[in-house]
């Protein structure tokens, strides 16, 4: 971890970064924001950790807890909503047995997320599975993909 953090610090210094870009790099490297990493940066940069925490909890992109191996993101834009994205989410939660209020399966294999419009409205409803965009998704096809990943 240490090494990676040093690298992030270096890009920050060379590239006029800011707290947000640091957090983005941490999130990208570890999949979430480990508390240690934030403390480390807070000390190195002499920026109070409260600032990091305030920013980390403001932006939807950041996660304070580790997430699943597979990330399934459902677009909840207007077009996807009109075309039934909610239904896709409820069948996902059921299939993966994720309790309400949570977003990750117990074994940390899957995380189900919502995202505000990804701007692919013409192929609504859109689901992104591990960064790959699937358009005109149906519950059936989605379940097939999930079972494949299991």
């Amino acid at each position: 971890m240490q090494e990676r953090l040093e690298e992030i610090l270096k890009t920050y210094q060379e590239d006029e970064g800011n707290i947000i870009s640091i957090l983005q790099d941490i999130e990208e490297s570890f999949g979430y924001l480990p508390e240690d990493a934030i403390e480390w940066f807070s000390e190195r940069l002499d920026v109070p950790p409260a600032k990091f925490f305030g920013i980390a909890t403001f932006y939807a992109q950041f996660h304070l807890k580790p997430r699943g191996e597979n990330i399934i993101t459902t677009c909840c834009g207007t077009a996807c909503h009109v075309k039934g994205s909610e239904r896709l989410i409820s069948s996902l939660m059921r299939e993966l047995q994720i309790p309400t209020g949570e977003d990750t399966t117990e074994d940390r294999k899957f995380t189900v997320e919502r995202v505000n419009c990804v701007g692919a409205c013409s192929i609504a409803p859109v689901v992104i599975i591990n960064k790959e965009v699937y358009g005109k998704m149906t519950a059936d096809r989605l379940m097939k993909e999930i079972r494949r990943l299991k």
């Binding site: 508390e35 109070p48 950790p49 409260a50 600032k51 925490f53 305030g54 909890t57 403001f58 304070l64």
Partner: protein, 346 residues
């Protein structure tokens, strides 16, 4: 100077003032919750909305700079209606337990609710519920009562330079908290407590010690250091239960942890009330006269026997300039030594 009209009154104010400052200078009342003249304007509570001729929507007086010939209306049915809705919305997400709230009687929110006669609430709905769990020794944080005026955050950053707390999360879930929602661990200067308009931040030492109406206020000067910050002691049943400081003082109302929370010694049973002299290996209470005579006699004795340089004086930062002056004078002139020093040098 600029001339503008507020509620039909023509007034003159300095260029660069805000509408709120202009109104206050001329004792025109505009309600606020998030404003503090000592902090950067915030514009969050929306209570100071006013109407300005030629501006289509109401604007906040605290953030709007005055301009020549501006015509401002600070109150009318429409504006008061908006303010009323704002207070009602705040109350719809508030415990409203004034009956047991420490702040009752000194709470801006309570005053506003009274002013707008808000008994019923049209917007009753989900309320934030937080566990009160903070083991720090000085500050009780009841975030359900927080109205997110951001004053504590601003004072901690702008005045104290600490940023121990920050607004975290967003929207309805926004919450003032230390990093990772841990217990507060900071300088405990209590500036945040002093600016909080509600009962969200209270001094732990004062909890349950007395209602606002039973308090006698005594103005004094902080004994801890030579800065001499002005204090107001809040006294209930002959006990100091809280210390505050008015923004109109030299120290602008700001204190440090010692001045604000270090008052327990006043009524401590361990506190010395009379001088003590060790006689036969035991401390005995004596009168001031006896004690001073004893000191004078011993100092004189040592000087005569070993010379003045056998004596050294060490003074304290808790003394005033005048006291410190006297102290060194005493040592140099009366005792006759240059061995004087001060704790602040170490």
């Amino acid at each position: 100077m600029l001339t503008l009209t507020i509620d039909g009154r023509q007034i003159e104010v300095k260029e660069g003032s805000t509408v709120l400052q202009a109104a206050r200078e001329h004792e025109i009342y505009i309600p606020t919750l998030c404003d503090d003249p000592r902090l950067e304007p915030y514009g969050g509570c929306r209570l100071c909305l006013v109407q300005i001729e030629g501006v289509p929507r109401p604007v906040t007086a605290c953030t709007t700079p005055v301009s020549e010939g501006m015509k401002v209306e600070t109150t009318n049915e429409y504006i008061e209606g908006l303010r009323r809705t704002v207070v009602e919305l705040i109350l719809s997400d508030h415990p409203n337990d004034c009956m047991v709230c420490e702040k009752a009687g000194d709470c801006t929110l309570q005053e506003l609710a009274y002013f707008y006669g808000l008994r019923e609430n049209r917007f009753r709905g989900e309320r934030r519920q937080y566990a009160k769990r903070d083991a720090n020794p000085f500050i009780e944080r009841d975030m359900e009562k927080c109205i997110l005026c951001g004053k504590c955050v601003r004072v901690c950053e702008e005045v104290q330079g600490v940023s121990a707390i920050e607004i975290a999360y967003r929207g309805f879930n926004a919450k003032v908290c230390p990093p990772f929602e841990k217990d507060l661990d900071c300088e405990f200067c209590g500036q945040c407590v002093s600016v909080c308009p509600t009962g969200a931040l209270m001094g732990k030492l004062s909890l349950g010690k007395g209602r606002q109406k039973d308090i006698k206020k005594v103005d004094t000067v902080c004994p801890y250091c030579g800065c001499g910050c002005n204090l107001t002691l809040h006294v209930a049943r002959n006990e100091v239960i809280r210390v505050s400081s008015s923004p109109e003082t030299l120290n602008e109302g700001w204190l440090c942890v010692k001045g604000r929370f270090g008052f327990k010694f006043i009524s401590s049973p361990e506190r010395l009330n009379t001088p003590l002299i060790r006689k036969n290996g035991r401390f005995e209470e004596v009168s001031w006269q006896e004690a001073l005579d004893h000191v004078a006699e011993r100092l004189g004795g040592i000087r005569d026997r070993y010379g003045p340089d056998a004596i050294a004086g060490l003074s304290s930062a808790r003394c005033t300039n005048e006291e410190n002056y006297l102290f060194q004078k005493f040592f140099r002139a009366a005792v006759g030594t240059n061995n004087v020093d001060h704790c602040a040098r170490y």
